[in-house]
Symmetry: C2
Subunit: 236 residues, 2 copies
DNA sequence: GCCTCGAATATGTATAGACATAATGCCGAG
DNA sequence: CTCGGCATTATGTCTATACATATTCGAGGC
């Protein structure tokens, strides 16, 4: 019932991932596979093109197709959505708003100017993600109200701004920057950990076609949280 | 000179990424695009299939194709290769080996048993990545010598084991786990930072077919290093 | 009003053939 | 022996056509 090009792809993929075909190994040329599966070349081609797209093989004209030497530097990172992740585990999630403020962007703060022109309205939100009443992560967010004016009216005393934004505001590009920081006094107090504890910081910025929508920094205690990036069969 | 299907793809992608076609917008059906570009349906189909694969659009039979609502949780993570990254910047890279040891896997250490059976040979390497003579990151590595026997003979007093492994040992699957840790005494001394400093820890495990090859933990001072994950046009 | 079934529609898969393009390797000229 | 150019080969793109499949919409029966 599964399409033939997908079966061809899966069988070759299995040979590669099992190690039976090592990097550098030459894959049967399209005419051979065509004969082997009794199908048209387009079908074989589709399977091989998909494998090439996924980076598992390299194709060279006149020479043939070869198992690729995998590269470390482009892996798929899972960024869990806190709320759905927590709820999926059967725990209770809530968001506690600590600060809310609408004010113009300050002309001397570079971070705010990346988001809005000086004087344009900026929504500032600080809050705490919690699991079963325990602090999970601290979040500081700036929102460009020009890009998401409806957001000014939303009540975030319980709903997470990230969740609301994902559902209501379209974005086209996003960047996450991951680093380690020591918890400062404010974060430490909110997360109920000693000041100076090593924490994972995720800085996320989102755009909609050139226009900046929001900037957020989320800080998690180091032992309570990690991020995973994979290359391999689970990739798809 | 660029293939037509790629041009079609690029033009639709541009409309989506510019925000001109918002999420939920219905894309012209294949027959319309076919007429618009004066080509066969297979060509249009190839362009749209690629966009669907990349997650930019969603295709539904009978209904049509629609701009997808982007999901946060699968972004592409750049994991720089330290050595080439540093050299590309024009700085001097070197690796200093701090410890080297070959011994059997200890039966009570879970981490070692994931790599080898108890009693099988294990290569243990500790070392320091340096830029212009300054410490950049501390690395602790376990290597399964069954999987990479040639490695026992290599001199790592200057060459980084990661670089050697990437070039000489084929792998099929890898996982990176990113977390924050406080520098312990040994790491702090090696990196010349105060003990307890917040650091970014990258735990990497690689496989070949089901067989584990190596486990490595790299620790970087928090301010000196970060990782970036993106979704968007730079994705390809 | 509601439910079922069939027609229309858009995508999914596949074929057979054609020409384009790139790279390898061989062969002959110098 | 070396170098340039040409034939060969494998992939890349595209066409025109066909049938399969999933989903929606509407018509008709209850």
């Amino acid at each position: 019932m599964i399409p033939l090009h997908q079966r061809i792809r899966a069988e070759i993929e299995a040979k590669i991932l099992s190690g039976e075909w090592q990097p550098g190994h030459r894959i049967p040329v399209e005419h051979e596979l065509m004969a082997q599966y009794g199908c048209a070349r387009m079908t074989v081609n589709k399977a091989l093109s998909a494998l090439a797209e996924a980076g598992l093989i390299v194709r060279r004209k006149r020479a043939g197709s070869f198992v690729a030497r995998p590269q470390l530097h482009a892996m798929v990172l899972d960024i869990p959505d806190l709320q759905s992740e927590v709820i999926a585990r059967g725990d209770a999630y809530d968001f506690r708003l600590l600060r809310r403020q609408v004010r113009p962007g300050r002309p001397h703060v570079a971070e705010e100017l990346e988001l809005v022109l000086a004087g344009e309205p900026l929504l500032v939100l600080d809050g705490l993600h919690r699991v079963n009443g325990q602090p999970l992560g601290f979040e500081t967010r700036l929102v460009n109200l020009e890009a998401a004016p409806e957001m000014e009216a939303v009540d975030f005393s319980a709903l997470s701004p990230g969740t609301w934004l994902l559902q209501h505001v379209a974005w086209t590009e996003a960047e996450n920057r991951i680093s380690a920081v020591a918890a400062d006094a404010r974060v430490a107090q909110a997360l109920e950990i000693p000041a100076g504890t090593a924490c994972l910081a995720v800085d996320r910025r989102t755009w909609r076609g050139g226009e900046r929508i929001t900037t957020v920094r989320q800080v998690f205690p180091g032992e309570a949280y990690d991020l995973v990036a994979r290359f391999g069969p689970s990739q798809r």
